[in-house]
Every structure is written in structure tokens, then in C-alpha cells.
Amino acid sequence: MTHTESHITDYRVYGWVLLALLVLTTITITVTWIDLSALTVLVALIIASVKSFIVLRYFMHLKFESRLFTVFFVMVLGIYLLVIVLTFFDYLLR
């Protein structure tokens, strides 16, 4: 199977992605000043996940690739999510 199509992404899209990442990084830093207690890690993980999603989709071209890669990605995400949930069976209930 060959994949011959090429995709040229507009620079403006990359500009928006950069802006989104900077905004999200600012939010990550800002929320550290707020005491969210048990939710701290959850909020940090959600922001990091959104950032990763944008990077993977645009910078790493997942948007234009075969569906198989998306399936792999979702599977891996599911595994890591479960690993984190299981770890918190210890941290939240210790």
C-alpha cells in the first residue's frame, strides 16, 4: 500500500496552532496558583492532552494520515489513561 498524496498546510494554520499552544501553556501555569486539591492533576492532564492532540493532529499530520494511525493513537491513549486511573487508586485512596 502506498501513500502518495501530499498535504500542504497553510502557514496560518500553524500560526493558530502555535497561538493555541502558548495560550494553553499560560493556562497551565496560571492554574498552579489556584488550589484545586484532588483535581490538580486532572486539570493539568486535560490541558496537556488538548495540547498533545493539537500537536499530533497538525504538526505530526495525524489529520491527513491513514485511519490505522488514529486507531493506534486512540488505543495507546486508552492504555495510558487506564495506567493513570489505576495509579490514582493508590494516590486518592491511600
Partner: protein, 530 residues
């Protein structure tokens, strides 16, 4: 169309001669052998270190060297055996050599990356071993580098940890290469469910390598950062949490057990149908159980931590999950045994080693149940019972499967046979020596002998002495086996000495450089015996 190369991969016809021709080769078969030679050197060093420990433990009290030296020896024994022998193990050697042959490909998807992985492996091993000779002396933490001791000890932990970090990259790249190879380079007509079961096990293994290894990589870097920059990740005196280290370490290191054992199970699944001359029983169940082991194996790591002080809820959740992983393992064992039932069995050395694997793996697996169970684990945690269980799985499992694979594919690798009688004698010594070495450790473990102790109470003397005698019988077996295989050339091997049905037996022994004159087209199942 380019002309097909027909000469054997062992002949040098390229720009370089001698060792350079090997060190610059991107041929998957040569890289497989290069891994094997390096691994054998590490294995022999690891075995000798093990024998040194056994000698010291022959009697209570100090015999030959100090307790600190003993701590250094068991640490480097573990680092060598785990990170440079059994983790790359069967995947690096037989995965590289055989997987492209078994799926009908000319090489792996990224041959240069494959060679690069080997160099990373050698570099990582060299860095890890340098820890013995540089800085403030050999690390004394055990191969697990548990915090906070690994943060506080003055010994050379950083080199060992960084070596393991580099070795991890080698593992990730090999895994990536195998996933892409299996997806992209299978022969025409070879659907996933027509693929032999060794590549299936390598596929499951490769996913663990890619997904789990980065976690230990970053954890080991955190240890270095904590030692050098005093950032409090794990050391309570710096504000860290030592149990976090255990979580992060075992999130990788438990799946790593499956990195070791899954290819071993794959090899056994190749050997048994060939020597029983029978279709493998439950093909799909074995294939899918590899994936199930890889997947469930991710979620059982904290069964190493029942006594660490983690939450009660986490303990029973992980105990439950641990019992689940026994199911796909048992599926494989039942299918192997059923494949042999009413088979036309020929007891040749590879088959003997495969039977040895099943026997030892069963003991290792069943003793694992008492460790996975909360109440009994507390009794035997950190005793020599764990040492025995672990060695039954890793040496009895991975080690015996490695020997089985070596005896099975040796004729294909070198185009020569070996002496069967000597191979059988070697098996006898290995099997008896192994059981005498490790079985008494179950008994003294239940009696309360702690692991990693330099000295012990008099009631454990008999167990230790039997164990030491077993260790030396095992060593004799290893020597006989290696001399038999590598001391002199045997008679020329036929292309298919065992009557196997998979693709590697359809090409000459040793295989030509690009494996197949014409790429095969697959029309049926891989184990079709009349």
C-alpha cells in the same frame, strides 16, 4: 528487475571483509547473530557472577568477600541479566533472524535503524558496565534502583541508570521496526491469521517495547535529576514520594517481563507443532492470547508493591487484575499440550528444551499465584521464594526457550547440524542443575530466608548448599551445550531438518542474503501437517 542474490548471508562479498563486514551489515540475519554473540558474552559474565554469589552463600557467615561486595555483585548480576540479556533476548536474536523469514520478507522495514539499535545496545551495555569501574564503586541498589536508597547511596548509580536508559532506546527502536515490518512486509496472501505464531508474539512484544519503555526511561532520568539537581521526586527528605518511584518503575518493568516471555512462548509454539507433526491446536486463541497478555500485562504492575504502603483499594484491584493475566497464559499452555496429543512426536533436542520450558514455566507460573494473592504475598514478600519464582519464569522460561530456539534454528543459521547426544546430555545437566539450584529457594523462602542477604541463620544452610551444588551442575550443562554448538562444525544441515512447515524451512540453510529467490505467495494456514 534487480538480479537476486543467491549466496549465503555468511559469505562476505561486499566492500568490507572480516569483522567490519559484520559491523556494517544491515542484514537482519547478521544483526540477529551479532545480538546473540554479544548477549552470550553478557550471559556468561552474569552466570559467573551468579556462581560467585552461590559460593559465598554456601555457608553462613563471610566466606570470600565482604557484604558490600556481595551487594555490588547481585546488583550487576541483575543489571546484566535483565537489561542486556533477557529484555533484548529472543526478540533481538531470533526475532531479527527469523521474523522476516517467517513472514516472507527480504529484511525488516528499516534495516539501518536495526543496525543502529544494535549499536545503541552495545553502547548502553558499555555505559552500564562502566559503573563497575568508574566513580565511587559498583552500584549496590539491586537492579531495581529503588528510591530513596538509589538517590542517597554514594556508589555509581548514575552510570548504571544511564546505561539502562540507552538500552531502552535500542528496545524501542527494535519494537518500532518489528511493528512496521509485520504490518507492511508480510508476504502476499499472508493475512494476520495466516501468520505464524512467533511473529504474532513478536508483534505483541513490540507494542510493549514501544509503549512501556519510555516510562522507565523518564523515570531513570528523574533519578539522575534528583541525584544531581536535588529535585524532590522520590526522596522524602527532598519532598518526594518513594512509592511513586515504585509505580513508575513497575509500570515498565512488569510489562518488561512480558517483553521477555512472550517471544519465548512464540518460539515454543513454533517448535511443538513441528516435533509433534501436528497442526497447532487453537491457533487463533494462541495468537490473540499474546495480545491479551500484552494488554492485561500493562495493568498488573503494583502486585510488586503490596507491602510498600500503597492504598488497600489499589492492592485488591491489582491482585484481581493479576489473576486475570493468568488466563491467557494458561490458554497457551493448554494449547501446547493439546497440540502434542495424538501427535507423531519425535524427541529431538529442541523439543526436549521446549518440554523443559513448559515444566519450568508451569512451576514459575503457579508459584506466581501465591505472590499475586494479597495474604500469601505478605508472608513471602522479599524472601528467596520470590527469587526462585522469578528465576523459574525468566531462566526456566526465557532461558530454556532461548536454548530451544537455538537448537531449533541452529541448522538454519549456520547450515550445520550439531551432535544430538551431547545436546541431550547438556539438557539433562541444565534441567537437573536448574531445579536443584532454584527449588530449595522456594522452601527456605517459605521458612523466612530474606532475599539479597549476605548472611543467614543456620536453619537455611542445607537449602543454600543444595542450591550452590545445583548452580555448578547447571554451569556444567551450559559449558557442554556451548561446546557442542560452537566448538567444531557439524555435518551439513539439510534445508528442512525437522520437517517444519513455516517459510524459513523452504529456503536453503544457511539462507541467501535476501532470503527468498522469489517472494512467496501464501494461500493457507502456517502449520498444515498431513
Amino acid at each position: 528487475m534487480a538480479e537476486t542474490i543467491t549466496h549465503s548471508y555468511l559469505e562476505n562479498t561486499g566492500r568490507y571483509k572480516g569483522i567490519l563486514a559484520w559491523l556494517t551489515s544491515t542484514d537482519h540475519k547478521r544483526i540477529g547473530l551479532m545480538y546473540m554473540y554479544a548477549m552470550m558474552v553478557f550471559f556468561i559474565v552474569g552466570v559467573l557472577l551468579g556462581e560467585l554469589m552461590r559460593l559465598e552463600l554456601f555457608r553462613p557467615g563471610q566466606q570470600f568477600y565482604s557484604a558490600q561486595t556481595y551487594n555490588g555483585i547481585f546488583t550487576i548480576h541483575g543489571i546484566i541479566m535483565i537489561f542486556t540479556v533477557v529484555i533484548p533476548g529472543l526478540a533481538a536474536v531470533f526475532g531479527n533472524f527469523c521474523m522476516p523469514l517467517l513472514i516472507g520478507a527480504r529484511d525488516v522495514a528499516f534495516p539501518r535503524l536495526n543496525l543502529f539499535s544494535w549499536y545503541l545496545y552495545i553502547l548502553g551495555a558499555a555505559i552500564a558496565l562502566s559503573s563497575q569501574f568508574l566513580g565511587n564503586g559498583p552500584p549496590d541498589t539491586g537492579w531495581t534502583f529503588y528510591a530513596p536508597y538509589s538517590i542517597q547511596t554514594h556508589t555509581n548509580v548514575v552510570a548504571a541508570v544511564f546505561g539502562a536508559f540507552v538500552l531502552g532506546f535500542s528496545s524501542i527502536l527494535t519494537g518500532l521496526n518489528f511493528i512496521v515490518t509485520i504490518h507492511r512486509l508480510r508476504a502476499a496472501g499472508m493475512t494476520f491469521f495466516r501468520m505464524p505464531l512467533f511473529p504474532w508474539s513478536l508483534y505483541a512484544t513490540a507494542w510493549i517495547q514501544v509503549l512501556a519503555t519510555p516510562i522507565v526511561g523518564i523515570t531513570l532520568l528523574m533519578v539522575i535529576a534528583e541525584r544531581w539537581l536535588r529535585i524532590g521526586f522520590f526522596d522524602p527528605s527532598l519532598g518526594g514520594d518513594p512509592i511513586l518511584y515504585q509505580h513508575l518503575f513497575w509500570i515498565y518493568s512488569h510489562p518488561a517481563v512480558y517483553i521477555m516471555i512472550l517471544p519465548a512462548m512464540g518460539v515454543i509454539t513454533e517448535i511443538i507443532p513441528t516435533f509433534a507433526q501436528r497442526r497447532v491446536f487453537g491457533y487463533k486463541a494462541i495468537a490473540l492470547s499474546s495480545l491479551a497478555i500484552a494488554l492485561v500485562g500493562y495493568f498488573v504492575w503494583a502486585h510488586h508493591m503490596y507491602t510498600s504502603g500503597m492504598s488497600i483499594t489499589a492492592r485488591w484491584v491489582f491482585s484481581l487484575l493479576t489473576f486475570l493475566v493468568a488466563v491467557p497464559s494458561a490458554i497457551k499452555v493448554f494449547n501446547w499440550v493439546t497440540t502434542m496429543y495424538k501427535g507423531s512426536i519425535s524427541v529431538k533436542p529442541p523439543f526436549l528444551f521446549a518440554l523443559g520450558f513448559i515444566f519450568l514455566f508451569m512451576i514459575g507460573g503457579l508459584t506466581g499465584l501465591s505472590l499475586g494473592s494479597l495474604a500469601t504475598d505478605i508472608h513471602v514478600h522479599d524472601t528467596s521464594y520470590v527469587v526462585a519464582h522469578f528465576h523459574y519464569i525468566i531462566f526456566g522460561g526465557v532461558g530454556f526457550a532461548f536454548f530451544a530456539a537455538l537448537h531449533y534454528w541452529y541448522p538454519k543459521m549456520y547450515g550445520r547440524m550439531y551432535n544430538f547426544r551431547r545436546a541431550n546430555i547438556a539438557f539433562g545437566f541444565l534441567f537437573v542443575g536448574f531445579n536443584l539450584l532454584y527449588f530449595p529457594q522456594f522452601v527456605i523462602g517459605i521458612m523466612g530466608m530474606p532475599r539479597r542477604y549476605f548472611d543467614y541463620l543456620p536453619q537455611f544452610t542445607l537449602g543454600h548448599q543444595l542450591s550452590t551444588i545445583g548452580g555448578f551442575i547447571l554451569l556444567i550443562g551450559i559449558i557442554i551445550m556451548l561446546v557442542n554448538l560452537f566448538s567444531k562444525k557439524g555435518v551439513k544441515a539439510p534445508d528442512n531438518p525437522w520437517g517444519g512447515k513455516t517459510l524459513e524451512w523452504t529456503i536453503p540453510s544457511p539462507p541467501p542474503v535476501e532470503n527468498f529467490d522469489e517472494l512467496p505467495v501464501i494461500t493457507g494456514e502456517p502449520y498444515y501437517f498431513e
